[in-house]
C-alpha cells in the first residue's frame, strides 16, 4: 500500500499540486494568468467529453444501464447524507450545511481525471462511458442540496418574522428555475455534455485528426492545471484553523464513507475494478467548479470559507494523494479481484 501511495505521490499530478501549495506557503508571486486557467479548464472538460463520446459510440446500452442507475442513486443519496451529517453531527447552521452538502453531492472533474489516470497506470483501465456518468452525477446533488437549503432557510426566516414582525425588509428570493437553468447551462455542463455528443457523432474517424491536440497533450495540460489548484489550495490553508476540526474530520471521513458506498454499488452494477474505483472517487469527491457559484448565488448566507476550504483544501488533496489508492483497494475487494 505505501508503495502505491508513493508511486501516486510521485505522479506529475500530485507533484504539481504540492509545488503549488509550497509556492503559496513561500509567499511567491507565482500565479497562472486568469485566461490561462480558464483556457485549461475549457480544454480539459471538452477533451474529457470528446474522448468519452468517442468511447460511448463503442458501448452498448445494456452495459451502460446499470452503472447509470447506480450513479443517479449516488447523486440523490450523497447530498442528503452529507447534509444530515453536517447539520446533526458537525452542528453547522442550515445554510452552511446545505452549501457544503451541494459540493459533496456533486463531483470534482479533476479528481475524476486523476483517478482515471491512476487506475489505468495501475493496469485497470476504466470503462469508456465513465465521463457520461460524470455528467449524470454533476447536477442532481447541487439541486437537491440547494432545494433543501432554500426551503429550510425560508421556513426559519418565516418563523423569526412571526416572533418579531418589525424586522427589516427581506431580500427578494431567487426563483429556483433560474438556478436550475444556470447549473444546466454552466460552462462545464455545455463542454462536458457537448463534448460527449460531438465525440459520439464524429466517431474514431473524426476524432483521429484532433487527437494530438485533445489526447496527447491532456496529461501535460492537467499538470499545469494542478499547479494552479495547488496555489488555490495553498492560499486556503490558513482557513483550516478558522474552519475548525469538525470540518477537517468531515472533509476526510465523508469521502471515505461515500467512496466505500460508491465502490460497492459500482461493483454490484458490474463495473470493472477501474470503473468501480473511478465511480467511488466521484462519489467521494467534492465539486469546486460547478457548485461554488451556484451555492453563492442561491444561498448567500452560507459562508464560502467553509465550503471552499472543505472542497479545495481538505477533500481534494485527500482524495488526490490518499483517497484514490484506498478506493482502488476497496474496489478490488468489492470486485473480488
Amino acid at each position: 500500500m505505501t508503495d502505491i501511495l508513493w508511486t501516486n505521490l510521485c505522479s506529475p499530478l500530485c507533484l504539481a499540486f504540492v509545488l503549488g501549495i509550497v509556492a503559496r506557503l513561500l509567499k511567491s508571486e507565482l500565479s497562472l494568468p486568469r485566461d490561462l486557467y480558464a483556457a485549461l479548464s475549457i480544454y480539459l472538460l471538452f477533451a474529457i467529453g470528446l474522448k468519452g463520446g468517442v468511447e460511448l459510440s463503442h458501448t452498448s446500452l445494456k452495459e451502460f444501464l446499470a452503472p447509470a442507475m447506480v450513479t443517479i442513486a449516488l447523486g440523490c443519496f450523497t447530498p442528503i447524507s452529507a447534509y444530515l451529517v453536517l447539520r446533526n453531527v458537525c452542528r453547522f447552521g442550515i445554510a452552511d450545511a446545505a452549501g457544503i452538502a451541494a459540493h459533496y453531492g456533486s463531483v470534482s472533474a479533476v479528481t475524476f481525471i486523476a483517478s482515471q489516470q491512476f487506475v489505468s497506470s495501475m493496469g485497470y483501465p476504466s470503462e469508456g462511458f465513465m465521463p457520461t456518468l460524470l455528467t449524470l452525477l454533476e447536477i442532481p446533488g447541487i439541486q437537491i442540496a440547494l432545494t433543501i437549503g432554500a426551503i429550510l432557510t425560508a421556513r426559519e426566516a418565516n418563523a423569526k418574522k412571526q416572533l418579531d414582525p418589525s424586522g427589516t425588509e427581506e431580500p427578494k428570493p431567487r426563483p429556483m428555475s433560474e438556478v436550475l437553468h444556470e447549473v444546466l447551462t454552466a460552462r462545464s455542463m455545455i463542454l462536458l455534455v457537448g463534448g460527449l455528443i460531438l465525440g459520439f457523432l464524429m466517431k474514431d474517424v473524426g476524432y483521429k485528426p484532433v487527437k494530438p491536440f485533445f489526447e496527447d497533450l491532456f496529461k501535460g495540460a492537467l499538470t499545469l492545471f494542478l499547479l494552479e489548484m495547488g496555489l488555490a489550495a495553498g492560499s486556503r490553508l490558513k482557513d483550516l484553523f478558522k474552519a475548525g476540526p469538525a470540518l477537517v474530520a468531515f472533509g476526510t471521513l465523508m469521502p471515505l464513507a461515500h467512496g466505500s458506498i460508491g465502490a460497492c454499488l459500482g461493483a454490484w452494477a458490474g463495473l470493472s475494478v477501474g470503473g468501480t474505483t473511478v465511480l467511488a472517487t466521484m462519489a467521494a469527491s467534492a465539486s469546486y467548479i460547478a457548485a461554488p457559484p451556484a451555492v453563492r448565488m442561491t444561498l448567500p448566507q452560507a459562508n464560502p470559507t467553509y465550503y471552499l476550504t472543505a472542497a479545495l483544501a481538505i477533500t481534494f488533496p485527500f482524495n488526490l494523494i490518499i483517497g484514490i489508492p484506498i478506493y482502488m483497494s476497496i474496489a478490488r475487494w468489492a470486485c473480488g479481484v
Binding site: 431580500p171 469546486y288 461554488p292 448567500p300 448566507q301 464560502p304 471552499l308
Partner: protein, 100 residues
C-alpha cells in the same frame, strides 16, 4: 462647450452578481452602462476569487431618481448578504438628454 450635470453610479460587487446586476439596472431604465473586471477586498474579506472569480465594476450614468431607486434595491437585496458597494459621483456631460 455647454455641459449638464448628471450622476455616475458605480457598483463594485462579487463576480457571480454580474448578470443579475446588469439585468437589475436595465430594468430600472438606465440608457447604457460600462462594465469591467476588477479585484478587491472589503469588509467581507473573502479571498474566494480563485473559484468564484474576482469582482465586477459597473458604471452607469443616470438621473438622480434612477440612482436613488437602484441604491434602494442594492440596499435591500444585495448589501446584506453579498460583497458589494455602490457610490455616486457628480459628473458633467455635453449631451444631457442622452442619459435621462
Amino acid at each position: 462647450m455647454e455641459t449638464h450635470p448628471v450622476i455616475l453610479l458605480t457598483i463594485v460587487a462579487e463576480h457571480v452578481l454580474r448578470e443579475r446586476l446588469l439585468t437589475e439596472i436595465q430594468q430600472a431604465g438606465v440608457r447604457g452602462y460600462t462594465v469591467y473586471e476588477v479585484e478587491g477586498e472589503g469588509s467581507r474579506h473573502r479571498r474566494v476569487s480563485e473559484v468564484l472569480g474576482s469582482n465586477v465594476k459597473i458604471e452607469t450614468i443616470v438621473s438622480a431618481e434612477i440612482a436613488d431607486k437602484l441604491l434602494s434595491i442594492l440596499k435591500r437585496d444585495y448589501f446584506p448578504d453579498y460583497a458589494a458597494i455602490a457610490y455616486t459621483t457628480s459628473i458633467q456631460v455635453i449631451r444631457g438628454e442622452k442619459y435621462v
